[in-house]
């Protein structure tokens, strides 16, 4: 087994770190496991906080922000569906900013699970509808800059920003 992490995973961690985020609240996902491993091995000062459900993760992140932190939430795109009430009735009206890193399933890159398709197809339109800025990381080399740009904008403007990790990129190293 190789110990060298995928370029995109290292870039995501570097981007999160670069914006001063030291608290990552997450619900596990297969590609995100690479990100978690990079944090554990290279960024010990970043606190990883496991939540039982994505909506809970957004609540914990809101509390972290109120306490003076710059939180990141990581989850699978399906979990955005679990989180819409917290996003729209807490984070948006109170202008509580955070960065989301979303492992994107159900796009057109060979999804095999029909249960992932509806939310995967809708997640960007849902973000547009509720006012969450989003960017799809186009390539492994662009991960750091994309995450940093989206996160920095979110915290400077008290808004929400999401980075989508397409399976076409992450399945090179995870399935």
């Amino acid at each position: 087994m190789s110990h060298k992490p995928p370029v995109w995973a290292s870039g995501v961690c570097a981007g999160i770190h670069a914006i001063g985020s030291r608290d990552v609240v997450y619900v596990p996902d297969n590609p995100l496991s690479y990100v978690l491993r990079v944090f554990e091995s290279e960024y010990r000062e970043v606190r990883l906080i496991l939540a039982t459900r994505e909506e809970e993760a957004f609540g914990i992140a809101a509390g972290l922000y109120l306490g003076g932190r710059r939180p990141t939430v990581m989850c699978q795109s399906s979990g955005i569906g679990n989180s819409l009430n917290a996003i729209t009735s807490l984070l948006v009206p109170y202008e509580i900013p955070l960065l989301m890193v979303v492992s994107w399933r159900g796009d057109d890159a060979g999804e095999w699970n029909a249960a992932q398709r509806p939310m995967g197809q809708a997640v960007r339109a849902i973000f547009d509808a509720i006012g969450v800025a989003h960017a799809t990381i186009p390539s492994p080399d662009a991960a750091l800059d994309t995450v940093r740009r989206v996160g920095e904008t979110a915290f400077r403007t008290n808004t929400l920003g999401a980075c989508l990790l397409p399976r076409a990129m992450t399945t090179v190293t995870a399935s």
Partner: protein
């Protein structure tokens, strides 16, 4: 003990603690019992108040955090008890105002009206100091356990905890012992009609809260 009675008692004993209130009647009663800059009133996101309190407790380990949740709200997010049990934040106390109904929406009974035991659920999720209180004296004793611990160990130390002793409580001899770790107090309360509501000025309330905690949001825009 009405929910308003219980809320007033908690505010009286809260000192400089931050208080996060669940939407609807718990938030209304907190405002009426004592508006203060360290109160955070939610107006939505049912079920998430305890998670907000957890995040705040993790962000500010030297601050004391009290959550005023409801039975219906906590039932929406029971997993939050598992996360608290996992992380064991010693500066977090969750008070569940258990009136056994969805009072804000017209009084429909919740499962706690039929025996669902939220303190037992908390203990099962490794929150050792979870207790059910039924009178103001018991609530005061549970909160006093927290305060004693703080005085003994200083402001940055663990919040104290009232370890449950339900048999003795039922026998009228409620003397909760004190240990470290997060606290869950399930307060069995009678419904009372709220007499005031906090302002619907979300951003101003948030900024007031953050400033009172010494973390103005402006400082977060450009850290370092």
């Amino acid at each position: 003990m009405t929910r308003y009675d219980a809320t007033r008692l908690i505010v009286d004993l809260a000192g400089d603690a931050a208080i996060v209130a669940s939407l609807g009647h718990p938030a209304y009663d907190l405002f009426a019992a004592g508006d203060r800059p360290r109160n955070f009133y939610t107006w939505g996101s049912m079920g998430v108040a305890t998670s907000i309190g957890l995040g705040l407790a993790l962000a500010r380990p030297s601050a004391r955090v009290i959550v005023l949740d409801g039975d219906g709200s906590l039932l929406m997010n029971l997993g939050s008890l598992a996360t608290i049990g996992l992380l064991q934040p010693a500066n977090l106390a969750v008070v569940v105002m258990d009136n056994e109904e969805y009072a804000t929406t017209g009084g429909q009974p919740t499962p706690t009206a039929h025996g669902a035991d939220l303190a037992a659920a908390a203990r099962a999720m490794r929150i050792a100091s979870a207790v059910t209180v039924r009178t103001e004296e018991e609530l005061r004793a549970a909160m006093a356990g927290v305060a004693r611990r703080l005085r003994a160990e200083g402001a940055s130390a663990s919040l104290a905890v009232a370890r449950p002793d339900l048999e003795r409580a039922e026998a009228g001899d409620f003397q909760p012992s004190v240990t470290a770790g997060p606290v869950v107090i399930v307060a069995k309360v009678d419904e009372s009609s709220p007499i005031a509501k906090p302002p619907i000025d979300y951003v101003a309330m948030k900024e007031r809260f953050m400033a009172a905690l010494g973390t103005p949001h402006s400082a977060l825009r450009n850290p370092q």
